[in-house]
């Protein structure tokens, strides 16, 4: 739907923007899970996207979970009530939060009432997304090694007045006690702007 819109019209509509951002989250989360070794590498398969070779999970349970979350995200992005998506990586042993991948979303709520599409080419957006994903891949060089077995969780920061849907529940922010932060690149569809950053637990030895 998004692609069609993107192709047929030169501009970006709210629905198309939500679609693009949700897709980015899907691929971004997959990339993080692969790069950080949360799931075994053999459960990932190669896919061409944004002019890059990306790795996408084949684990059916994980796939199902990600699809659920991304679909819900799409809805919320369309309604412009989501502020942030956080990928929390924590140790299974002692529940300690080791990494937080944060994607701040700035919604242009004016786009809700507008009918005319914004002018930005699909290619320009894809270029921006590609550089963000490349940076995610490059962060492995400086992030500390995850020594224990880890699991991940997806937190979504929404507006306060949102009714919690079924299967969802409120959560804590899951901060890292002693963290170091790195800001990554951002991209914008002119309706949604996504700023990405990563916070990780400071190495106690350094």
């Amino acid at each position: 739907m998004a692609k069609q819109l993107g192709r047929d019209q030169q501009g970006i509509t709210l629905r198309g923007s939500a679609e693009i951002v949700a897709e980015f989250f899907s691929y971004g989360i997959n990339s993080i899970l692969y790069q950080r070794g949360i799931y075994p590498p053999e459960t990932f398969t190669r896919v061409q996207k944004y002019g890059l070779t990306l790795l996408v999970t084949t684990d059916p349970e994980l796939k199902n979970y990600l699809n659920n979350v991304v679909e819900q995200m799409k809805d919320w992005l369309y309604k412009c009530i989501v502020q942030r998506l956080v990928v929390v990586i924590s140790s299974i042993e002692n529940n300690e939060v080791l990494e937080r991948w944060q994607f701040d979303i700035e919604c242009d709520k004016a786009a809700k009432d507008e009918s005319a599409p914004r002018e930005k080419s699909q290619k320009a957006i894809q270029d921006e997304i590609r550089s963000v994903i490349r940076q995610i891949t490059a962060t492995v060089t400086f992030l500390p090694l995850l020594e224990t077995a880890c699991a991940f969780d997806l937190l979504i920061y929404t507006d306060k007045d949102l009714a919690v849907p079924e299967k969802w529940e409120e959560s804590g922010p899951q901060f890292i006690a002693n963290s170091e932060e790195v800001r990554l690149r951002s991209f914008t569809t002119t309706i949604h702007k996504v700023n990405s950053m990563v916070a990780y637990k400071k190495d106690s030895f350094s």
Partner: protein
């Protein structure tokens, strides 16, 4: 037939044609000249000939047609034949193709069969080779077998030879035993001799001992002699020493005297030393004092310098006092002065502020006044314009007055002329009236003139007023300007205020920058917090999927942990029970079996393998036992069977009857002592029992004797 018919038709046609031609010829001949009858005949003939030729042509034509038709028919049939042939050719070609295909298939099959054949041949060759190798191995095996058989035969031969040898050797042994007994008796004799010799030796050794004792005594005595000699030499030495000592003793009183002297001197020196120490301490104390004094002196110098400086300063202060005319003599005065100055400053400041205020007020007033001046000037300008207008008006009026006076004069002159010309009687009333009228007019004009003059004067007065006001304003202006100049002076005073204000401004600026810095720091903090994932809980809430992988993993881990704990508990229970020595309770047995079916399977396997091993061992033992028994039987010549507990039955290889056997009973389970039990057979060999068992107490000897006996009996038999 057809041809004939055709001919007839041709002829008939020909006849009709001839008729037709004859008619024509008659007609023609009728017309033609009779002289030409011959020629007509000829002509007829010619015609006939021509006709015949024509007929022949026609006939040939018809024949040609016929031939052509035939040809057509032939062609048709040819075509048909060709088509049929083509069809046949096609079918043949198809058949041929099919045949060719079949041929190819057959060829491929042949090739396959050939390949198979080749394979089969190869296999056959391999088999043949195998066969040959087997045959070879068979031959080698058979050869080996033959060799082994021959070896066996040789071994049997050697066995028989060895058996002969054994019997010979047994005879030899018997002889040697006999010899042994004789040698024993000899040995006993020799032993007795040896005892005698031994006694002799003992005596000799005793004598040797006594001799050795005497020798040792001798050595001791010699030692003593040596010691005594040494003592003697020492004594000689001592006498020498004593002599020397005596000489020394003579010197002793002198020495004592010297000693006393030295002691005295010593005491004196000691005192001196003490004095010396005291003096040294004093010197040190003095040096220290000196150092201190030196320091004090240096300080004194510096103090004097300072004092001079201070005196200079004081003088300068005093001079200042003189110069300033203030009575500053002490710092208190100064401070008082300063306080007074400060107070004055405050007063001045206040004045200053009041002055500045007044200056401001004045400034405002000045501005107002300037505005007023401008207004007044504009009014003045208006007034001037008005005055000019009025003046112009006055001039015009004067001109008019002049004109009017001239007119009046002219009119009077005219009237007078009239009066003079005309009779006054007729026109006098009229003239009078006119006169009056004219006079009235003049009076009116006069009135008007006066009015105008009044107006003019009024205007002039107004102008004067305005001028006065302008002057006043100018004066005011001057005053204000002077005030302004004074205000400039006050500006000088307000500078301080300005400075103060500036300082305030600077302070405020500093505060502002500080606040900005704080603001920035706070923003940074906020930024950091957002980076760390902080959020505004009043506006935002955090959601996550309830069945997320992290919580799932945790749950799984918890369950696992619980399971492990339970298992651990159970095992602990088991361990406690086992330590208590009790048997495994049923519920825990269940645990054991539940614990690991894998382990059970493994154990079962182990058991099976152990049983198998056991069985194998049993078999091996069985065979070994059999072998051992056989070997025992062949080597010792007795078959040993266990009849009941601790009872052994021996059957000789050379037994005459099957029932001939000996029964032995072990007195203890370890088989240390054996007892012969009575059997039917044992009764027949009493002699041997008596000799070997009762006298020699040797079962092996008894058994060997029995075998020899039985063997000799058999061989004899």
């Amino acid at each position: 037939m057809e041809d004939l018919e055709n001919n007839t038709t041709v002829f008939s046609t020909l006849r009709s044609l001839n008729n037709f031609i004859a008619q024509r010829v008659e007609g023609v001949s009728g017309l033609a000249t009779p002289g030409s009858s011959q020629s007509s005949l000829q002509m007829q003939y010619q015609q006939r000939v021509q006709l015949e030729e024509q007929a022949g042509q026609i006939h040939s034509k018809s024949q040609l047609l016929q031939v052509e038709r035939e040809k057509m028919q032939m062609e048709l049939s040819h075509k048909r034949a060709r088509i049929e042939l083509e069809k046949a050719a096609n079918t043949n070609a198809r058949n041929y193709e099919r045949e060719a295909d079949r041929n190819q298939e057959l060829l491929t099959r042949i090739k396959q069969y050939q390949e198979r054949e080749i394979e089969a041949e190869n296999k056959l060759k391999e088999q043949m080779e195998m066969n040959k190798s087997y045959k070879k191995s068979m031959e080698t095996v058979s050869k080996k077998l033959q060799e082994k058989e021959s070896k066996l035969a040789e071994a049997n031969e050697t066995i028989t030879v060895l058996k002969g040898k054994i019997s010979e050797l047994q005879w030899n042994i018997m002889n040697q035993e006999m010899q042994m007994t004789s040698q024993d008796s000899q040995k006993q004799e020799l032993m007795e001799q040896l005892d005698v010799q031994h006694k002799k030796w003992q005596e000799a050794s005793q004598q040797i001992q006594t001799l050795q004792a005497s020798q040792s005594l001798l050595a001791e005595y010699e030692q003593k002699i040596k010691d005594l000699e040494q003592k003697f030499s020492q004594q000689e030495h001592d006498t020498l020493i004593v002599k020397n000592m005596k000489a020394e003793l003579a010197r002793f009183p002198k020495m004592e005297r010297e000693l006393r002297q030295l002691r005295e001197e010593n005491a004196y020196f000691r005192e001196m030393k003490e004095n010396n120490g005291l003096l040294k301490e004093e010197v040190e104390g003095l040096q220290r004092k000196l150092e201190r004094y030196e320091k004090v002196q240096a300080q004194l110098v510096t103090l004097e310098l300072e004092n001079e400086k201070l005196l200079g300063k004081l003088k300068s202060w005093e001079k200042l006092d003189q110069s300033t005319g203030l009575n500053i003599r002490t710092p208190d005065d100064l401070s008082r002065q300063i306080v007074a100055l400060q107070q004055r400053e405050l007063v001045l400041k206040e004045q200053n502020s009041t002055i500045t205020n007044s200056a401001r007020i004045l400034e405002k007033a000045r501005q107002q006044l300037q505005e007023e001046i401008i207004r007044v000037q504009s009014q003045l300008l208006d007034e001037k314009k008005k005055r000019e207008q009025h003046e112009a008006l006055v001039r015009r009026l004067q001109k008019r007055v002049l004109l009017l006076t001239k007119e009046r004069d002219g009119m009077r002159a005219i009237l007078e002329s009239y009066d003079s010309e005309l009779t006054p009687s007729e026109h006098s009333p009229q003239l009078n009236r006119r006169m009056r009228e004219a006079e009235e007019m003049v009076q009116k004009l006069h009135a008007h003139n006066t009015e105008l003059e009044g107006q003019l004067s009024q205007v002039l007065e107004e102008v004067g007023n305005h001028k006065q006001r302008a002057e006043m304003l100018e004066v005011e202006m001057k005053v204000l300007k002077s005030q302004e100049s004074t205000a400039d002076q006050s500006v000088f005073v307000t500078k301080e205020e300005v400075d103060a204000l500036r300082l305030k401004i600077e302070e405020l600026e500093a505060e502002r920058s500080k606040l900005e810095g704080e603001n920035r720091a706070l923003e940074m903090k906020l930024e950091k917090l957002t980076l760390q994932g902080d959020y505004d809980p009043s506006k935002t809430k955090v959601l996550h999927f309830s069945m997320n992988p992290a919580s799932l993993a945790k749950q799984q881990r918890k369950e696992e942990q619980q399971q492990l704990q339970e298992e651990c508990e159970r095992l602990r229970e088991l361990v406690r029970v086992l330590e208590g020595g009790g048997s495994i309770p049923e519920n825990l047995e269940g645990v054991g079996s539940f614990q690991s079916p894998q382990e059970v399977a493994e154990l079962k396997k182990q058991v099976e393998s152990a049983e198998l091993k056991n069985q194998r061992l049993k078999e091996v033992f069985q065979t070994k036992i059999q072998e051992f028994r056989k070997v025992c039987y062949t080597l010792t010549g007795y078959q040993i069977d266990i009849t009941t507990e601790n009872q052994y039955r021996l059957t000789s290889i050379y037994a005459e009857h099957q029932g001939d056997c000996l029964l032995f009973k072990a007195s203890s389970s370890s088989g240390g002592k054996m007892q012969l039990l009575e059997t039917e057979f044992s009764r027949t060999i009493r002699e041997l029992i008596e000799l070997h068992l009762l006298r020699q107490d040797s079962i092996p000897a008894f058994l060997s004797a029995l075998t020899l006996d039985l063997f000799s009996r058999q061989t004899i038999a």
